[in-house]
């Protein structure tokens, strides 16, 4: 064999080899901790046994930085990513994700077509919704006899002294501050659109600023509560539920003033494993898988047809999931949906303002 032909053959053999290897395994990126565990149990394990495609699970802390870096460098190693709605929309707008044709989504288990089965707003151009989650606040019942009941109590240091845990980001915090200051959920973004409204939100945050412990990863707040570092903390509701259900911590969630949001799957543009990633996306958003996930963590499934299938926590048949969902009627009375359009427009300015406020 001539040297050149040999090299050409070797290279193409390598290429075929790596292509075959690529399809054998996909990298699924999510938020870690109890949430990733729920996905591993409900999506990954059945997917692997059904298709034989392996899954490498990676954790991240949200945001688009890694995806942007990978797509712009043309070296995409993440095949499918779990994103907040605002990031999914923004990333789609910036061309970071593959566009998904919604007609490929299978109908619900009860036969409802996908576009009617998915809760409104959970199918976007690039992302397919999996769960409804919520930012709530929680406290330790063993340390507080008569606990807080409203979002205003979270900002009331006199009635409920002690440190507060808050996510280090303006998102959800400004909204909660305004609701605590008496703004009805429906008017929050209207108020926040004016400079006076922003001032008002920051003024409310100012009242507790000296008592705040800031957190960044979703696993931190339950830890802060368990360690007694804070008297109450904002958190993702599923994390608190997990501490309560799996670790038997005496935590209680206050649903008043919750800010709810969606998580979606999106496929970074240019991944070599697009087909397998799409297969995983479709499989995991089927009725059964979404329902199965809800038995591991208290996030509401994005398909309506999944709700009736959700019954009890996986290891405790007595622990019904329904009352722990953000969308349960009694929890949903004073709830606000995170407005991704508002944040797309204002996050640069509000982040800057928030950072400046922190540094003061």
């Amino acid at each position: 064999m001539k040297p050149m032909t040999f090299i050409a053959t070797a290279v193409s053999a390598l290429a075929i080899g790596s292509a075959a290897f690529a399809a054998d395994s996909i990298t699924v990126v999510s938020w870690g901790g109890a949430y990733t565990k729920s996905q591993v149990e409900a999506y990954h394990k059945p997917f692997v046994s059904k298709t034989g495609i392996n899954i490498v699970s990676e954790d991240y802390n949200g945001g688009l930085a890694e995806v942007k870096a990978q797509v712009e460098a043309g070296n995409v190693t993440w095949d499918i990513v779990d994103l907040e709605l605002s990031d999914a929309v923004r990333g789609c707008d910036e061309g970071l994700f593959e566009v998904i044709d919604p007609s490929v989504l299978p109908p619900g288990a009860d036969g409802t077509p996908a576009e009617d089965d998915f809760i409104e707003g959970t199918i976007t151009e690039c992302g397919i919704g999996t769960i409804v989650w919520s930012t709530i606040f929680a406290y330790d019942t063993s340390k507080m006899d008569s606990g807080p009941t409203t979002i205003a109590d979270f900002f009331d240091l006199e009635k409920f002294p002690g440190k507060r845990g808050i996510r280090k980001s303006p998102k959800a915090n400004l909204e909660m501050a305004l609701m605590a200051d008496g703004v009805p959920a429906g008017e929050v973004y209207e108020v926040l659109s004016s400079p006076e409204g922003v001032d008002r939100a920051f003024a409310k945050l100012d009242t507790i600023k000296d008592s705040v412990v800031w957190w960044e990863a979703g696993a931190q707040p339950p830890q802060l509560l368990a360690d007694g570092e804070v008297a109450m903390t904002t958190a993702y509701n599923g994390r608190i539920f997990n501490a309560f259900a799996a670790e038997e911590k005496p935590f209680n969630i206050v649903w008043d003033g919750q800010v709810w949001d969606l998580d979606l799957w999106a496929i970074p543009k240019g991944t070599p494993n697009k087909e397998a990633a799409l297969k995983f996306m479709l499989f995991s958003t089927e009725t059964e898988q979404l329902a199965a996930q809800a038995s591991w963590i208290s996030y509401g499934p994005a398909r309506k047809s999944s709700s009736p299938l959700v019954a009890a926590y996986n290891s405790k048949p007595d622990l019904k999931m329904a009352p722990h969902m953000p969308t349960a009627p009694e929890n949903f009375e004073n709830a606000l949906q995170n407005d991704f359009e508002f944040w797309a427009d204002n996050q640069d300015e509000l982040n800057e303002r928030f950072n400046a406020w922190l540094a003061q």
């Binding site: 945001g63 930085a65 707008d93 061309g95 800031w214 570092e229 204002n346 982040n351 800057e352």
Partner: protein
Amino acid sequence: MADITAPGPRRSLTEAPQRSAETSGPLLAADGTPLRRKLRQALFVSRMRAMGLATPLVLFVLLAFVFPIFVLLWQAVYNDTFEDGMPRTTELLAEWDAISDPDEAMYAAVITDLIEARDRERALPTKVGARVNREKSGSLSLFKKTNRRAQRLEAPFKEAMVDLDKKWGDIEYWRAMKVASQSVSPAFVASALDLHYTADGTFEWEDPKRQIHLKLFLRTLEISLIVTLATIALGYPVAYLLATLPARVSNLLLILVLLPFWTSILVRTTSWIAMLQSQGVMNDIFVWIGITADDQRFSMIYNKLGTLIAMTHILLPFMILPLYSVMKTIPPSYVRAAKSLGATNWTAFWRIYAPQTVPGIGAGAILVFILAIGYYITPALVGGQDGVMISNIIDDHMRKSLNYSLAAALGLVLLVFVLFLYWLYDRIVGIDNMKLG
């Protein structure tokens, strides 16, 4: 030697080659070439060989260090997102005086550009909108909305666009576009200095509620200085012990200095969290011995104090090691001689020993200071709200706001600042005076 330079039949050495060429021909090597050329050839070959050996490193430094830095710094002053996506609008904006109402041609150009941009790359109009949004919040949704309807709009565009969204009638959005349309622009560097670059080409202070960078630069300087002084105060006696104790003991001590040095920064920082948090080891001890009440535990972490403590600990070896290597070379006989001449312990130390350790202090201080000024992971973990530094904001813009240009501009300011301090150090102490080992 006077006879050599004196005129006469014996020529000066420096003039020898030319003059002798006239008279008796050049000095020749064995193969007949002039000796001078032969020597130059030999030197050239050996120099090339040396350079050949150094080439991989030089290339590596160029490719992996100098080049990326320049690319990054270039981004601080160059961002052509707008010009690239909207060429016609850019041209018209350049001619516009930024005061009068934009005319129909400008409105029409925006629509033509948006339609063309979308045909080229689906996400391009949004990227342009995101760029303008950095100058004026609300521009992103304006661009997205207009982009969606661009095909359906009809002339006169001014009316149609103001109808679609009244923001198009607001001159502030046009002024923001004018700033964004300048590809080479000081806007980001200005923003890194809490200034706002306006469409008129002037600078004004950022809204005080959003000013943050200057404050953080100052805090970074303050934290770095305190950490440097603290490492000198703590490291000096340790280095002295290491240098003067018998080798067996000092080697053991040296391992104690190096052991944490070999441990991951992350591990060391998180151990400080375990030590200092309000339910942590230190506070438990304080409560136990009665320094403080159980419900009034000290806040020693997630603030500036936590950053200072953890950073001082982590950077301590960078002070101790240069100090130690310098102290090791100071002969103990000097201090003995001073004492035998009647100096007290203090005088002997202060007048004889300490001045000889200055090169070590200089080296350690500049190492610690420059490492500290760019410190990132420790303040991110234990800084809380008042212990974060400028690098944390840079990180924020790289990872969260995705504003690479502003991150680059902040990096540029930091780099200039460090170079200035380096220059200052050279003027005051002298860089030659530094000794690393």
